[in-house]
Amino acid sequence: MSGKVLMIDGERISGQDVRTQNVTAVTAISNIVKTSFGPIGLDKMLVDNIGDITITNDGATILKMLEVEHPAAKVLVQLADLQDQEVGDGTTSVVILAAELLKHANELVLKKIHPTVIISGYRIACTEAIKYINETLAVKVETLSKDYIINTVKTSMSSKIIGDDSEFFGKMVVDALARIKTIDYKGDAKYPINSVNILKAHGKSAKESMLVEGYALNCTVASEGMPKRIAGAKIAFLDFNLQKAKMKLGQKVVVTNVNDLEAIRDRENDIIKERIQLILKSGANVVLTTKGIDDLCLKYFVEAGAMAVRRCKKEDLKRIAKACGGTVLISLNNLEGDESFDTSALGSADEVVQTRIADDELILVKNSTNKKAASIILRGASSLLLDEMERSLHDSLCIAKRTLESGTIVPGGGAVESALSIYLDNFAETMGSRKQLAISEFAESLLVIPKQLAVNAAQDATELVSKLRSYHHAAQTDATKKSYMYSGLDLINGKVRNNLEAGVLEPAIAKVKCIKFATEAAITILRIDDMIKLNPKEQQQDPHGH
């Protein structure tokens, strides 16, 4: 049936055609990100339409920049984005897995197996797989030595640009997280990773990056006359302008006497002066504001020997306020209708200092008593490098957070996928219906992860994966060889090893989500048997008739 009979303004593809088309589109997407997968994956250079360059190997970032048009491919892009939001890492693997699942499903359809059978098979396989991860493969972190977090972070970093210095950055990430640990009202430990401020500064090598105890602000003091360092700082956080009082629109002052003019000017100055006096009187010696401070007001601060910083980012200010125990004020009015400055709104810090890093001056708010903020200052040779470092650190922070919050981990390096593949293969044999085929295809699809890892590392993928499978087979059949179930790939040496001992670890929740999301996306696309593309609405009639 074509669009003509249906009388719609657009084209329609149905049945096998649309399925093949979707699979092709999805495979194309996965092929793009495939080579950047794993510790020895390579990076992509993306140039957008205004000429900006991004170099990355983060799947979500690559796909976001691609501007895909095919609707099925768009589902995959959303998938990567979702994995990024929910887990923060594993964006490439989720895309590769979903594409592989679809490819295998399409082959089954070509063998005349109805898509609905495949869908139910995939669903069963997915729930079984997740059950197996949670019940058998996952390891409670309590049973492991202390350095498990640093190992998960290192595993996540290994695929990124900072992989070579993973020891260095791993420690940095773990230290940063330890600083921002908070306990919520339910008594659970939370790690709000956006309290870690990542700043980028050109110059020096990546190894010179540092963790700052406290918060780094990308601003400078408002006037040269102000002190650059204040110890025992009392900080006021303002979210309003410090400038000469202005009348609101529609309000006029009519002057009848020339002498009054001067009086008005004085009064304008006095209003703001009184405000500043209020702030200073409360004991504040550092004033941070999101808005401006005009020259006149600066004078008062300079005279009082206080430090004032204008045009701070609002988010930064909120975080500093939280870390130092202060509150951000949007006005000075109190409940009596007058203006006052409450000392309880002041935050305290050991030291507020302006330091020079590379070409930029930064303000550091150092605080050792009240740990709730950390800043990482990244150094690097180029802005492209810095951007990629920032993304990598963000991923690692997310991974560490998930590990700490969920408390279970699994071995990495393809270990989980191969174990699941063997398990599901055996499980499929217990099914007496056509779903058996779908489940074994699911098992087969999972192997794409170790295979691709090996291919990217320039190892013999077929042999390595067979070896890995044999180890896992032994682990699941022979009770004495149980420890083999943690076997994964050692990509540098091209061998199979116990990845739990080697410290290649991932949080279990990341794996579970990855499999869940990939299956869900594959099923969404597989269920489509008809695609109708409506033509864009024509522009409103051209008045000139051309």
Partner: protein
Amino acid sequence: MSAPSRGDFEEKEKEKDVRTSNIVAARAVADAIRTSLGPKGMDKMISSPNGEVIISNDGATILQHLEVRHPAARMLAELAKAQDIEAGDGTTSVVVIAGALLGAVSTLMSKGIHPSLISESFTLALSKSLEVLTNMATPISLTDRSSLVKSAITSLNSKVVSQYTNLATISVDAVLNVLKDPLTADNVNLKDIKIIKKLGGTIDDTELVKGLVFDQQSSHAAGGPTRVNNAKIGLIQFCLSAPKTYMDNNIVVSDYTKMDKVLKEEPKMILEMCRKIQKSGCNVLLVQKSILRDALNEYSLHYLAKLKILVVKDVEREDIEFICNTIGCTPVANIDSFTADKLGRADLVEEVGTADGKVVKVTGVPNPGKTVTILARGSNKLVLDEAERSIHDALCVIRSLVKKKYLIAGGGAPEIEVSQQVTEFSKTLPGIKGYCVRAYAEALEIIPYTLAENAGLHPISIVTELRNKHAQGEKTAGINVRKGAITNIIDENVVQPLLVSTSALTLSTETVVMLLKIDDMVTSR
């Protein structure tokens, strides 16, 4: 020249063209969505003109987005919509049945039977079918929760979200919650059930909140509270900011010493308003969205935060009634009438973080049972949208059961039974009418046929076996799509409300009769 006998007629060329073109167009639509029928139906992906992608297998949704141009085809789209409004489910079936009936019509017309005779017979057949359906149905009581859940599951079976049984129980609980009295109720206002979508998590995380959920986060620009126990909730429809006059105005200050007074007037005024709010005991404030000016300015936020009042701003106007019903508050349009008796109550108001921003949850309302909120979650936007549509369908199914408290079997069983009994009935009719009624009965077999086809079964053998079973008196034999065989469908818990089936038959027959009556089409512009 002898006058042609009744029922024998020669069509004029033009009339024939119009009818054929109408039938062809309408059948094309029915064919297009046929593959989406049933639990194993497939989805359609529609890429709309502005590039937005919709994935759905809900007949009404698909047709709504298809933008068919042929007027007759549009009637079918309208038909799906009508079924959606009336029963909320079975939108695909109604279009598929209409398509099959039109197929029967074209065969009948090619045999030279007059359209008006066909339509007369179809109406007759319809009334007989409804009678058969009603006889088949078993009454249920709304207190029988498990039967309700079963029919909700049947409705959800065909959707992407079918593996999540939690949606069915949530829908049933939602409807039962808003029912005033399950024994006497004969309608449900689905407006009392609000569905809020939030990206992130999986569909498993969808939950029923006996209270309110606000899509937006609380305003804490000034560091106000984000969690309030024993909340007293006020809902205001005025703005807490400097008033504006309609006309342009100028305030002229003649004396510079009065500048201070002018500057301080605004905060002072707002403070007074905030004071009044606090005095009433209110600690959670909902502020209606205002397009004329800012509903809140920095002063009011500042004061409200100082007074430890949680603020949710930008509440949509259309939600006001729902909110009032839920927490028992009265909207206040003027600060002077803001008194304690206008406040609603809740045990807890708190801001909860999700992957896609924060939501404000109001739980523990004093007299629950008037309204509920379903917080739908899904891993991507497409799944989430489809989940919302599916919940809506499930809710409608339950509503149909409230309206008409009868259940019938699903899985093609009612259609086959109707088809057989109407065929029997046709034998009692004299002349051409009997012939037309039989064609009607045969057309109904399209439902089991398509069900089998979509499930990857052999349609002809399945339908034949089904006919055989029904001829032997097994009224509840239907297609068990999961097992791929004919079984007693009631045992498999595949049940649907009677209203869905009757309304599908009535609406599709009426549409077909209407299409038949058209013999000329004039396009005017």
